[in-house]
Amino acid sequence: MLEVNHVYKSYSKTSTGFRKKSMPVLMDITFPINKGEWVALVGESGSGKSTLSRLMLGLEKADSGNVLIEGKTAAKWIKENRGKMSVVFQDYTSSVNPSFKVKDIINESLKLTNHSKIMESLMEKVDLPLSLLDRYPHELSGGQLQRVCIARAISTNPTFLVLDEAVSSLDVPIQAQILELLHKLKKEFGMTCLFIAHDLQTVAYLCDAVMFLHEGKIVERVETENLANVQSEYAKRLLNSVIRFS
């Protein structure tokens, strides 16, 4: 359903003198994501994860190569399929307009597709009490606000969902709850998802396959079941770095 073909991206940065230096961020990225598949993109900060996600969300253009969704470029596909692409960011506080109430935040997205879905049932889906609808974002805890963002993201029945470090800045118990929630939604809605993370444990919980992004290149792609048999140096290092709890 989604294809990334030989994508290159670099940012120009002025260094000493006047000559602009270009910093390559992504180099020859190619991968497909099949319909209904949940694929994880794992890498350190600075590996190009967020740039790749911005390209897939149609927020930026690649220098060369392209991102095709159902055969169309990402930006075009989004224009033609309103609300079918959705995203949840890591930083939930800046993900919602601070002067909107929770119900306005969700309502804005609901109106987009004229869905018959009701706000109440959405709140129920993400396990939030209805009393929160009249609150402002700053009156909510981090976990609650991230749930609001998830509710908003699924309100349009998206076919493609990007979770950009959606659980990384939450406390572990809250992370576990959100992961459970996402697991439930995965079964219920059957959307395709790109799950960006740096922690392999959360990835294993949700995703069918894992891609390792290191220094702008995809070094390996494995099915989650075979995670223990990774071949590349970087993936092995990442696997060994997991702080086990028993």
Binding site: D171, S241, F245
Partner: protein, 272 residues
């Protein structure tokens, strides 16, 4: 005699009329490592500030804090600052904001050392290089010349730990030292802490919401919820056989989160 003894510490916010923490008591023995676990908003970081006397004036702190047997909660601000400078180091979550963005790391380290340890600039520089190497930075001289924004979060966190180590305090308090970092860096930093514990014999207090880190690094632990102490004891006991429902909840959620990962790995070992 215990290095740090906190008795019935309570903090009350007179502005919002909220109780931040209530009647917390614990002791930290010399050369041991103590963990404080709780979710964000449980009052962990506030408690540390309360112990160190770094509270805003409208916060009402009651109870007593004995450090090396001396009640520091009764101390004057100036004397307390002396204790903080010489005996206790604090490592914070956000390393970036702990450094002055306008100066190089080296300059800031040298300044700190020559001020607090009464050494010459040259000795300070040598010390800086050696402690940076100690926390696993190979190109120490190179790093000293960098400005904070030129270094990664993990690097800065190491620099901060290096400063704490160099000052040779009796106690190092690390408040969520790995939360803002990537998985690989997190595990590197934890390994480094383990090494430092055996080498230095300094007392550590680790504050975290991550049970795995607490399990790796501490011998004693206290679990906090909404400003109250719900359980404490030996780390292995508390995490293996949690008594309080809240601790059980923390352990269980942690296990659910990792169960798929563990399953995948276990399957592999079965094959082998």
């Amino acid at each position: 005699m215990a290095l740090l003894e906190v008795k019935n510490l309570s903090i009350y916010d007179t502005q919002t009329e909220n109780s931040i923490i209530e009647k917390i008591s614990f002791t930290v023995e010399r050369n041991s490592s103590f963990g404080i676990v709780g979710e964000s908003g449980s009052g962990k970081s506030m408690m540390v500030k309360g112990i160190l006397g770094l509270m805003a004036p409208w916060m009402n702190v009651s109870g007593s804090v004995y450090f090396t047997g001396i009640d520091i909660s009764e101390m004057k601000t100036k004397a307390l600052r002396q204790v903080r400078a010489n005996n206790i180091s604090l490592i914070m979550q956000d390393a970036m904001s702990a450094f002055d963005p306008l100066d190089t790391i080296g300059k800031q380290m040298i300044e700190t050392f020559s001020e607090n340890l009464q050494v010459s600039k040259k000795e300070a520089k040598q010390l800086a290089t050696s402690v940076l190497q100690r926390v696993g930075i190979k190109e120490a001289i190179h790093v000293l010349k960098k400005y904070p924004h030129q270094l990664s979060g993990g690097m800065l966190q190491r620099c901060m730990i290096a400063i704490a180590v160099a000052l040779k305090p009796d106690m190092i308090i690390a408040d969520e030292p790995t939360t803002a970092l990537d998985a690989i860096t997190q595990s590197d930093i934890i390994k480094m802490f383990q090494k430092l514990q055996t080498e230095l014999g300094t007392t550590f207090i680790f504050i975290s919401h991550d049970l795995a880190m607490i399990q790796q690094l501490t011998q004693e632990v206290m679990v906090m919820k909404n400003g109250k102490q719900v359980e404490s004891g030996k780390t292995s006991d508390v995490l293996r056989r949690p008594q309080h429902t809240y601790t059980q909840y923390l352990v269980n959620t942690r296990l659910t989160m990792t169960k798929s990962f563990e399953k995948v790995l276990r399957k592999d070992t079965d094959h082998a």
